[in-house]
């Protein structure tokens, strides 16, 4: 019986090559995209699961309530992990803290390399996390100060092929580390990737023993470390969280009460950090929304492929009607026939799957570029996915074949054999076309809107001029010491308009601390506000605008200690209304109610976007500092950029000889903030193209079939005087109506989906009706082109041919 299924299925495929190709191609495109998306999703979901104890590891996160403001940070305070272990040994087995290493220049026997991804970490690193040691002892690799473990690729870069264990590395600041361990490279699916880890205990000499080991309340209010805890075998994170109020009372509240602030402990399971973390001061993370979006897109593409199969299978039902009837007369039960047709669709899906496997091999490198991943696909190495694809293919076959199976098996033999094949008016087919084009239109609207939003972000007035701004970051203490001379030298070049320095350029994290501000009744209150240090030239370099008061004056020595500039948002949030000039602001509140600096507001700067446009402009203090700041911003002229950069590099080597010259343009850096959106924009463009391509493939098949069916009608009409355009109109009219109707389904769905997506941005483009019209018209034109292509061919056929055969 099964053999009979196979034979008939294969012969049917071969006898109807054109439709078979459409079906197989449509499904294989859908399956190819599904496999690629599955690889991407699988990779996203696999983050940090290579750590043996990942299900017991949690990242600690900070939730501050300072007055009304609420801030969430990935960074935590130094004593948080140790204190939790100390208080809850039943539940917390271990902690491990990481701190970013600032000075990342490494030297070995005259060879210098620069590496960003270097952290200090506790010696418990190897107990909490799983890293494969190639050389060295995991037990004590980070036990002593000035020890370091490095990855294979980092070792190769600086040491070449020799075993680095026992060798020493010197940093740009003259700290010497002994290599105590060589580990395999950190897997790409780790949220915290590093090339080298220095022993945390090294920091003790910089912090001082007292501060390093302090469990005083104040120490809990100074964040800057990524902290992880590993639970005991029987530990439960709920116990820790439930006990937090007492912990808070003991360690955190004393200082919190003094500054009117609260700290709430937050934890994130390690495996969730990559996709679910939405806190400040975080490492680059993924986004679960994109995982869902990609999943839906894969489903869309498969659905469109399945619909093609259903449409064409039922459209061709007349061709199979006699076969079905004969089989029924010969004794085939309906159920048997259903399985026969389902088997055929499973066979088509299987052929599509084989094609998809080949396509994935070919496309994967391009997809990796697009999605910025390093995905690989192996039958043996990724057995789970392969099984998943087999199951999906089976389900696709089952789903695609189910409707044709029920439809075809319901033919009444008596009717069919009498030649009365019930004329199928194809209303379900039209509904399926409607569904396909609804999906395609949603994708087109999505693509248009994502592109519009990206352009909006690019063109939005940021409150400063980000173009032609070169950013340099000085890591060398020598460079910092000679900063003023360096600046003066740079200013000498005619192509350099202005040079300013700052602690943080827009796009970088801005520090936040608690300050005191003057209320309307003259008293002072605390509030956590972001701040940035600048020099006298910074505001002019950035083209930022003072809208009230004045800027810092080089001639007024007191400005650095007694004055401050605020942005508009600060004035608003602090309730200073339209006249904030002269208001008192205590920069950096101390525990005794005093401030580090007692300043007065001398000017208000027009709000500028120092964070990404995902966020509203928050209050910001722009403080003048007489100390050199590490970030240098250079406004350069648009022409001869290369020679200007050459000059800057020349001067760099003069003033910062130990560090390689690295520069960036601020507008590029700011665009980096929208990489995820740009990626999804590109993916949407490709996938919406594929959606409409598969839908058109099906439409082309249906149009071909309709044209075949209506050959006689077309010929009679032509004999009666119909022109080619009349015929094309008749054939295209019906499909066009359904494509137009598809907009009714697509528009509201697209509107709500995009509304949700745009809510990610504090500044978003308005959804315009024009975009929706354009998407609808695009879909209609593509559909018309597809149908017309076939209709014109049908209309041009000599009517005598068709009538002769009739």
């Amino acid at each position: 019986m099964f053999k009979n299924f196979i034979k008939v299925a294969i012969r049917n495929l071969l006898n109807r090559k054109f439709y078979s190709i459409i079906n197989i191609l449509g499904l294989s495109i859908g399956l190819t995209c599904t496999i690629l998306i599955a690889l991407f999703v699988q990779n996203e979901l696999s983050y940090d699961k290579h750590h043996k104890n990942y299900h017991r590891i949690y990242r600690l996160e900070s939730h501050f309530n300072i007055q009304e403001s609420e801030d969430l940070f990935a960074a935590t305070a130094l004593p948080l992990g140790p204190a939790l272990k100390l208080e809850y040994p039943q539940d917390v087995a271990e902690f491990c803290r990481f701190m970013d290493m600032d000075n990342n220049l490494f030297q070995y026997e005259g060879k210098q390399i620069f590496e960003e991804n270097v952290y200090y970490a506790d010696s418990t690193l190897t107990d909490v996390f799983t890293h494969e040691f190639i050389s060295g002892s995991p037990q004590d690799a980070l036990d002593d100060p000035n020890e370091m473990i490095i990855t294979e690729s980092f070792a190769k870069r600086i040491f070449g092929d020799i075993d680095p264990v026992g060798k020493t590395l010197e940093t740009g600041n003259g700290i010497i580390f002994t290599i105590t361990g060589l580990i395999k490279d950190v897997p790409h699916n780790s949220h915290l990737r590093f090339e080298a880890i220095a022993s945390f205990i090294t920091l003790k000499q910089f912090f001082g023993a007292e501060q390093f080991d302090s469990l005083e309340s104040a120490a809990f209010w100074n964040i800057g470390f990524y902290s992880y805890i590993m639970l005991t075998e029987n530990g439960d994170i709920k116990n820790v969280l439930n006990a937090y109020p007492e912990f808070n009372e003991k360690y955190i509240k004393p200082v919190g009460d003094m500054i009117n602030s609260k700290f709430q402990l937050m934890v994130q399971p390690l495996a969730d950090v990559h996709l679910f973390s939405r806190v400040g001061y975080d490492l680059p993370t993924g986004n679960i929304a994109y995982v869902y979006t990609f999943g839906i897109v894969a489903l869309f593409l498969l659905l469109i492929g399945c619909i093609n199969y259903m449409n064409l299978a039922t459209a061709q039902s007349a061709g199979r009607a006699v076969e079905v009837s004969i089989r029924k007369v010969m004794g085939a039960q309906k159920q048997y026939l259903r399985w026969q047709f389902i088997f055929e669709s499973i066979l088509v899906a299987t052929l599509a799957m084989i094609l998809a496997f080949v396509a994935v091999e070919l496309i994967l490198p391009t997809f990796n570029d697009l999605a910025d991943r390093d995905l690989t696909f192996g039958f043996v190495t990724n057995l789970d996915l392969v099984i998943g694809i087999f199951v999906t293919t089976f389900l696709v076959g089952l789903f695609s074949g189910s409707y044709p199976a029920f439809y075809l098996s319901s033919f009444i033999p008596v009717e069919v054999l009498k030649g009365k094949i019930g004329k199928n008016n194809g209303s379900l087919r039209k509904i399926l076309v409607l569904l396909q084009f609804s999906i395609s239109i949603i994708m087109i609207i999505g693509t248009f809107t994502v592109i519009q939003q990206l352009n909006f972000l690019k063109d939005k007035d940021l409150g400063f001029d980000a173009e032609n701004l070169v950013v340099l970051t000085i890591r060398d203490t020598l460079g910092v010491r000679n900063l003023q001379v360096f600046k003066d030298e740079l200013n000498k070049h005619p192509q350099i308009i202005k040079v300013g320095t700052t602690s943080s350029v827009p796009g970088q994290d801005h520090a936040i601390i608690v300050h005191l501000f003057e209320t309307n009744d003259g008293s002072m209150e605390e509030k956590g506000i972001n701040f940035v240090f600048v020099d006298h030239d910074y505001l002019e370099t950035m083209n930022m605008h003072i809208i009230k008061g004045r800027s810092y004056d080089r001639n007024l020595q007191t400005d650095a200690e007694e004055s401050c500039l605020i942005n508009e948002a600060t004035a608003k949030v602090l309730g200073w209304g339209s006249d904030p000039i002269g208001k008192k602001l205590g920069f950096g509140a101390n525990l005794d109610g005093t401030a580090n600096l007692n300043t007065k507001v001398i000017g208000v700067i027009k709000d500028f976007h120092y964070a990404s446009l995902h966020n509203q402009v928050d209050p910001l203090l722009i403080m003048l500092s007489n100390d050199p700041q590490r970030n240098i911003c250079l406004r350069i002229r648009q022409d001869n950029v290369e020679s200007t950069l050459n000059f800057i590099e020349e001067k760099w080597h003069e003033f910062c000889p130990n560090f390689p010259f690295e520069y960036s343009f601020l507008d590029d850096n700011l665009n980096e903030q929208y990489v995820a959106e740009q990626k999804i924009g590109r993916v949407f463009t490709y996938f919406s193209f594929l959606c409409i391509f598969i839908a058109c493939l099906g439409l082309f098949g249906l149009a071909s079939y309709t044209a075949e069916q209506q050959t006689k009608e077309i010929s009679v009409r032509k004999v009666m005087g119909a022109s080619v355009s009349n015929i094309v109109f008749i054939l295209s009219k019906e499909f066009s109506i359904w494509v137009i109707l598809a907009n009714i389904i697509a528009w509201p769905l697209a509107f709500f989906a995009l509304k949700k997506w745009l809510q990610n941005f504090a500044y978003a483009v308005d959804q315009s009706l024009l975009t929706y019209f354009l998407a609808g018209i695009t879909a209609l034109l593509i559909a018309l082109f597809t149908v017309s292509f076939r209709a014109i061919k049908a209309a041009q056929t000599n009517p005598a041919e068709a009538l002769k055969y009739e």
């Binding site: 019986m1 009979n4 034979k7 008939v8 012969r11 049917n12 006898n15 006699v322 076969e323 009837s325 004969i326 089989r327 029924k328 007369v329 010969m330 004794g331 085939a332 039960q333 309906k334 048997y336 009444i412 033999p413 008596v414 054999l417 009498k418």
Partner: protein, 229 residues
């Protein structure tokens, strides 16, 4: 073998009601060869379809081997049909995607016969129909006469008790028509009951009895040959 009691079939559409068969009472004995004749639209094929359990009557009874089957479900009719009845059609109704061999083998698949037995049975019947040399051909590669021989082979391969032939010679030239009639006669002589719808008076002469239908009624029944059980 077959007995109908007031067998009636009414086709209804939204606006029109057509009585295709009207209170037909007929008995067909085991081993009999009956021809049904009448003008187009008189209900010949409808009667054949009802007797062949391809359709349910609107009214009346249908007894097959003394069992009342008119109220059978589709599944029950299918089961009854596949082991008892063979069909031959005017337009052959072979499946284009299957070879001659596979077409003939088809009914055996549905009665779940073993592969070896199927092979034996199909080979035998193809030999008998003198079409074995075309076993691997597809229907389109055969002449009309050859296609109908294949259809006859397919109808007899399960050794049914009853063969229903709906104008089996309608699409054939006279020589091929005679050949098919000889085959049917031969099968009947071997004990198979045959009910044949035909327009051809000469081919009706092969039957033991001719039933004339007009507007859904039996108008005459002529016994052409003596028939003994």
């Amino acid at each position: 073998m077959i007995k109908t009691v007031d067998l009636t079939k009414i086709y209804r559409t939204d606006e029109v009601e057509t009585t295709a068969l009207n209170n037909v009472n007929v008995e067909i004995a085991k081993g009999e060869f009956v021809a049904i004749m009448g003008p187009s639209g008189c209900g010949k094929s409808t009667l054949l379809n009802l007797v062949g359990l391809l359709d349910n009557p609107s009214k009346g009874e249908l007894h097959f081997n003394d069992t009342e089957v008119s109220k059978y479900t589709e599944r029950m009719r299918t089961n009854m049909r596949k082991s008892n009845i063979g069909f031959i059609f005017q337009s052959f109704n072979l499946i284009d995607e299957l070879t001659v061999y596979e077409n003939v083998e088809l009914p055996l698949l549905y009665i779940k016969m073993s592969s070896a037995e199927r092979k034996k049975r199909v080979t035998e019947v193809l030999d008998r129909m003198k079409i074995a040399h075309r076993a691997k051909h597809f229907p389109q590669q055969l002449s009309g006469g050859q296609q109908q021989r294949v259809a006859v082979a397919r109808a007899v391969v399960t050794k049914p008790k009853l063969i229903l032939a709906d104008e089996p010679t309608g699409n054939l030239d006279s020589a091929n028509g005679e050949e098919v009639m000889d085959l049917l006669t031969q099968l009947n002589e071997e004990g198979t009951t045959i009910v044949m719808v035909t327009h051809s008076p000469s081919h009706a002469e092969y039957a033991h009895r001719i039933i004339q239908l007009f507007d859904g009624h039996i108008v005459t029944e002529n016994i052409k040959k003596e028939f003994h059980l």
